[in-house]
């Protein structure tokens, strides 16, 4: 029996029960990103590419620090540089390390039709299994953070694994290991939340950031990556971090009511037609005459 299946609590496109659901006592893990101490050095980006052995991804130069506009199938971890103008007219850098948020209720997993292509381990990590991915891209639609990216050659989708290979061996993710300022932390979700709240409180009382707070959006059940923001009331200014991310309503409707209505209608339709046949039968059994018709040419 594989230990891996025991540690899985959610499986995409899966009929029947999930082997690991509630069978193991395990911490939910979380990554804490303190945007207020990030210096934008991109060490985490390099560490991610190195650890995951990803091929080189060409950068783009457009006179800013932003060397690529968004994450890619082979670039899972990207710092978004935002020059923010404060109310007094002065500028400040808002740098946010962007990657998969490892939602507790992942939209990608909900949308995925392929059995086992997306799994959630009991420690909360959401991981794509490329061997089972069919490349439909439903996860791209299900994700409110624009994270899953399709590889055109393999036709499979890739994203941050939260270094599940390292975490399962008791190591912290590569990005955490590389951070020189200590703005990245890794541990249990509970610990990280306490640490994040402490830092936010410090920012509010001692650093003149009255709106400082923690980003752990409840719309997706909380996330496995939480942020400390100077201004938690306006997460959009951090490169479009959604204020209230949710699995898109249409995905919810599609996978919820529509699926039930559709299934009932299809099964009901087949049964209904069968019963109709039992009750009324064919319209006319002997309508096809074997005899030559009168008046027709022989």
């Amino acid at each position: 029996m594989s230990q891996a299946t025991l540690r899985i609590q959610k499986i995409s496109g899966h009929a029947g029960s999930v082997p690991g659901e509630d069978t193991q006592r395990q911490y939910t893990v979380a990554k804490l990103i303190d945007t207020t101490t990030c210096i934008g050095c991109k060490a985490c980006e390099v560490a991610c590419v190195e650890w995951n052995d990803m091929p080189f991804s060409a950068t783009e130069f457009n006179n800013t620090y932003q060397t690529m506009p968004e994450t890619r199938w082979n670039y899972w971890n990207l710092i978004l540089f935002n020059e923010h103008e404060k109310e007094d007219g002065s500028l400040m850098w808002l740098m946010r390390k962007n990657q998969c948020m490892h939602c507790a209720e992942p939209g990608c997993l909900e949308a995925c039709p392929s059995d086992g292509a997306i799994i959630q381990y009991t420690n909360g990590i959401v991981d794509f299994q490329q061997d089972k991915c069919i490349g439909c891209g439903y996860c791209i639609t299900g994700c409110p953070f624009n994270i899953p990216k399709l590889n055109q050659k393999t036709k499979r989708v890739y994203k941050c694994t939260l270094c599940t290979d390292r975490v399962s061996e008791g190591l912290e993710p590569a990005c955490i290991k590389s951070c020189p300022t200590g703005c990245l932390h890794f541990g249990s979700k509970e610990e990280m939340k306490v640490l994040a709240e402490q830092r936010a409180e410090q920012l509010r009382t001692h650093y003149n950031f009255p709106n400082a707070g923690v980003y752990d959006p409840p719309g997706v059940g909380g996330t496995g990556v939480i942020y400390v923001l100077h201004d938690a009331k306006n997460p959009e200014i951090y490169g479009g971090l959604p204020k209230d991310p949710r699995v898109p309503l249409s995905v919810k409707l599609w996978k919820g009511p529509l699926k039930w209505l559709g299934n009932i209608a299809m099964v009901g339709g087949v049964i209904g037609l069968f019963v109709h046949y039992l009750r009324y039968g064919p319209k006319e059994r002997d309508v096809e005459s074997k005899e030559p018709h009168q008046g027709a040419e022989p």
């Binding site: 039709p113 392929s114 069919i134 891209g137 559709g262 299809m266 309508v287 005459s289 018709h293 027709a296």
Partner: protein, 221 residues
């Protein structure tokens, strides 16, 4: 033998569907069945095994959109062949009012349908409009990665409308199979061999029957 629609054939039969209408019908039918099976596999985890049987999830995902293009092409050709005959007439309105008799197989109490009865016309237009919705939403679902983030609502709409339109076609498809294979004996043969008996025409399409007979009598004079 030249094949021309409505041509009276030997042994009391009449040509209903010439060769190209029949072959086009089967292009639509086989592509639809493939789309239905792979679509159902993507619809429900309980049916994902269908994709496995048909060559695997990746292959099904790869082929589904291409076969969809074939299906769309066939439906558009049907539009070319049959659209002029599918306009609603006064008889069709009466037909819908008498639907109860049709369901209860009391066909003698039905108003005289023409070459197509109102139900067949509804089927035709259902598939025609559904095919357009399926194509448009299907194109978005084909290349979701190339839809820019600020146009993501296109994906949200498509991911919902595509199965809605598909379910709508499934309802029509089930009725179509039931009517043509089980309920109306002779209908299935008409789309294989192309002809139906004159009794069939007279019973189910009296208006059409009258036209054929009149035409034939006129040509004989």
């Amino acid at each position: 033998m030249s094949s021309q629609a409505d041509q009276i054939l030997p042994h009391g039969r009449v040509l209903r569907y010439p060769f190209f209408e029949r072959s086009n019908h089967w292009l639509a039918a086989f592509s639809y069945i493939y789309l239905l099976l792979t679509g159902l596999a993507f619809w429900s985890p309980w049916l994902f095994w269908i994709a496995v049987v048909l060559g695997g999830g990746q292959i099904s995902r790869m082929l589904h959109p291409w076969i969809g293009l074939f299906f769309f092409y066939a439906v558009m050709r049907m539009y070319g062949y049959w659209a002029p005959q599918m306009r609603t007439t006064e008889v069709d309105k009466q037909w819908w009012r008498s639907l109860r008799h049709y369901v209860q197989n009391q066909d003698h109490r039905m108003p005289p349908a023409g070459r197509y009865n109102a139900g067949q016309k509804a089927l035709f237009w259902s598939f025609f409009y559904a095919a357009i919705v399926l194509l448009l939403t299907g194109l978005v679902l084909w290349f979701p990665e190339s839809i820019p983030w600020n146009l993501r609502w296109l994906r949200y709409i498509s991911v919902f409308l595509h199965p809605v339109a598909a379910l709508f076609t499934i309802a029509n498809f089930l009725l179509h199979i039931y009517m043509s294979v089980f309920a109306e004996r002779g209908a299935f043969g008409s789309v294989i061999r192309g002809d139906v008996s004159l009794e069939f025409a007279k019973r189910y399409h009296p208006g059409w029957y009258r036209e054929i007979v009149e035409k034939t009598t006129a040509s004989r004079k």
